[in-house]
């Protein structure tokens, strides 16, 4: 088990709030191993928002859960890597210490609001529970705090004594957000918060997350497969494919100077407002089977630019500039470029 590291509160200097280094997480079943996350690294400063983008099954949720060390039970095993959250390696903390930071330093919003709330507890109690856990306050104060949080997310405070089944989907997601932000955490992990909502509610929720970000300076790890959401709210982007980060950088780097063929494929597969006639070019083939990942670049079989070296097992991250890096052998030869035009995607 991790050696006992005391939680030291790092002051919020230019230091990174969250550093994920070489994180690898596999699900060990009886007959096979699902390699969900393979050696990903990214870091996030205080108040910044990073978007983890990728198709379903790319390992986004697993990565997010490992930040809270919540990878489910006996199957999920964090093979290697470090997750440093304001100075502490989350993976080495004891359960007691983990319980202290969850909800306080880092908290999480989940995808499906319909099942994320405890049906037999009032909404107010569920928020107050988090407050009582992390702050020495009596029940009344905690309950008042819960009503304040509800007002904050646009729900009348009086409804704190109602039960989840009396709220609509959008309202429920607001409650989940209220729970997550109850103790004003430094880092918020949002696992596809708007996927289950319809478009109008989606915009309200994103808008609210943006305001809260401004108000509390909360750093956000936004997990989504919707590039529109990324463009809307994220400062930095990391594109994941088959458990690896194939391209990461600032919003401008990835959107306007796309380097990785998979990212290009993603952009091709979303309709353009200003170019209605353009036909969509879906990426051929399917996501690789996580239990039998090919050697070298996992995207090679589907990549238009692939050549033999791509399948070689040695594959290292190439830094294009200070903030932009890509995992692709094609750039070994200097004048390689994608046929996607620069700056096509004005943010």
């Amino acid at each position: 088990m991790a050696e006992e590291t005391t939680i030291d509160r790092v002051d919020d200097s230019e230091e990174f709030l969250l550093e994920v280094k070489n994180l690898t997480v596999h699900y060990v079943l009886e007959t096979e191993r699902v390699e969900a996350v393979n050696d990903i690294s990214f870091s996030l400063k205080k108040g910044r928002t990073i978007g983890l983008v990728g198709e379903t099954g790319a390992g986004k949720t697993t990565a997010a859960l490992s930040i809270l060390n919540l990878v489910p039970g006996p199957l999920g095993v964090i093979e290697s890597g470090e997750i440093v959250l304001s100075g502490n390696n989350v993976l080495k903390l004891s359960p007691k210490q983990l319980e202290k930071i969850r909800g306080k330093d880092v908290s999480m919003i989940f995808q499906d609001p319909m099942t994320s709330l405890n049906p037999v507890m009032t909404v107010g109690d569920q928020i107050a529970e988090s407050v009582k856990l992390h702050e020495k306050v009596n029940n009344a104060a905690a309950y008042r705090r819960a009503m304040e949080m509800l007002e904050l997310v646009g729900i009348p405070g009086m409804r704190a004594s109602e039960y989840p089944h009396q709220f609509s989907g959008g309202m429920k997601q607001r409650v989940v957000i209220a729970i997550a932000l109850a103790c004003n955490p430094k880092l918020l992990i949002a696992d596809e918060p708007t996927t289950a909502l319809d478009v109008t509610i989606q915009a309200q929720v994103l808008d609210m997350i943006g305001q809260l970000k401004e108000k509390f300076g909360t750093a956000i790890v936004m997990i989504t497969h919707d590039l529109g959401v990324v463009a809307e709210i994220c400062d930095e982007v990391a594109v994941m494919y088959a458990g690896k980060i194939v391209e990461s950088g600032t919003l401008d780097d990835v959107f306007n100077h796309t380097t990785h063929p998979y990212t290009e494929g993603l952009f091709y597969s979303i309709p353009k407002i200003n170019n209605k006639k353009a036909s969509l070019v879906p990426i051929p083939g399917l996501m690789p089977d996580p239990t039998k990942l090919p050697k070298g670049c996992a995207f090679a079989p589907r990549c238009a630019y692939a050549f033999e070296e791509c399948s070689a097992d040695k594959l290292s991250l190439r830094k294009i500039n200070q903030t932009h890096s890509v995992l692709c052998r094609a750039y070994d030869n200097p004048d390689f470029h994608l046929n996607l035009k620069e700056g096509h995607n004005n943010a």
Partner: protein, 319 residues
């Protein structure tokens, strides 16, 4: 909520009437009457007729039933034809024994099965889980009287730990409570396990953990809180079967309860006592099921909302 409970209690009246009709006719049709066993060997036919007249046995069954029902409607359960004491008195005299035993088997049944079920769900598909499943299957299949005899043989005959019968203090509760509680325990453990399995995979537990709630209270508060509904349903069903099975346990352990009183009344053809006992047992039955329904509302807010009608939710919509 009160309106619903009242309606269910009012529902008792047709139950009483129908149950009394069924049991009264059944017992009156049974061969042999109460008088046959009472008379001495040297009673003459004339004297026999006179005694029959005393118990209205010479009149048609319909007359006796009408007289009995007339008394019943005035809330008088009549007097036992044998002891002459009122049915209500003899029932109340024996009721505490049965209730205490039922309570003891409930404590054993539910008390032990909750932790067992939770552990089995938490460490599912481990040795513990298989053991529990095996134990519950056997517990469900074991006839209670056979178990009673075995316990009697081993624990009061061979090891002389527990008394062999009668209601003499706390120690004499143990064996009968285990006998009548085992079926309850087996069924409730199975249900707890399956309910908890379902709940453990639910998302709101993950939300709770993400809030930093310690694992212990994640299970106790959040998981169990939601698992209660199916558990209570099973307790309701099996409790009615356990109460019925009391008669058996009381016979094996010479326990002076209602079950035995009813059996003796039926054997002695004491129609008013038997009828009274069955009616009162059915009433306890119906009240028990009502209690289980009320427990639903206590445990599950969604059901509680149905009872409170639309008053509350209307206000919320307007706000």
């Amino acid at each position: 909520m009160l309106r619903y409970v009242l309606r269910r209690i009012l529902w008792l009246i047709p139950v009483i009437i129908c149950v009394s009709f069924i049991i009264y006719t059944l017992l009156s049709l049974a061969p042999g009457t109460i008088v046959d066993k009472m008379i001495t060997d040297s009673t003459t036919q004339a004297e026999l007729q006179e005694i029959m007249a005393k118990y209205d046995l010479d009149k048609p069954m319909v007359y006796r039933y009408a007289k009995y029902m007339w008394g019943l409607l005035q809330g008088d359960l009549g007097t036992s034809q044998i002891t002459g004491s009122s049915v209500w008195q003899s029932f109340i005299a024996r009721l505490p024994n049965t209730l205490w035993l039922a309570l003891a088997s409930l404590v054993i049944g539910v008390g032990l099965s909750l932790p067992l079920g939770i552990l089995a769900a938490k460490y599912s598909s481990t040795i513990w889980d298989n053991l529990t499943t095996g134990f519950t299957l056997i517990g469900m299949s074991m006839p209670s009287f056979w178990l009673g005899l075995l316990l009697l043989r081993w624990f009061s005959l061979d090891f002389k730990i527990f008394p062999a019968g009668g209601n003499a203090g706390l120690k004499s509760f143990v064996l009968p409570a285990i006998t009548s509680g085992l079926m309850l325990m087996a069924m409730v453990t199975r249900q707890t396990r399956s309910a908890m399995l379902e709940v453990l995979h639910s998302d709101y537990l993950r939300t709770a953990r993400a809030k930093g709630v310690p694992e212990k209270s994640v299970i106790r508060v959040h998981a169990l809180g939601n698992a209660w509904i199916p558990i209570i349903t099973t307790i309701g069903n099996v409790l009615s079967r356990t109460l019925a099975g009391q008669a058996i346990v009381e016979s094996v352990f010479s326990w002076p309860g209602i079950g035995r009183l009813t059996i003796e009344a039926v054997e002695q053809r004491d129609v008013t006592l038997a009828c009274g006992c069955v009616i009162l047992t059915s009433i306890i039955y119906v009240l028990l099921l009502l209690l289980v329904d009320i427990m639903y509302a206590v445990v599950d807010p969604r059901i509680r909302a149905q009872y409170q009608g639309t008053k509350k939710s209307k206000k919320a919509v307007m706000a």
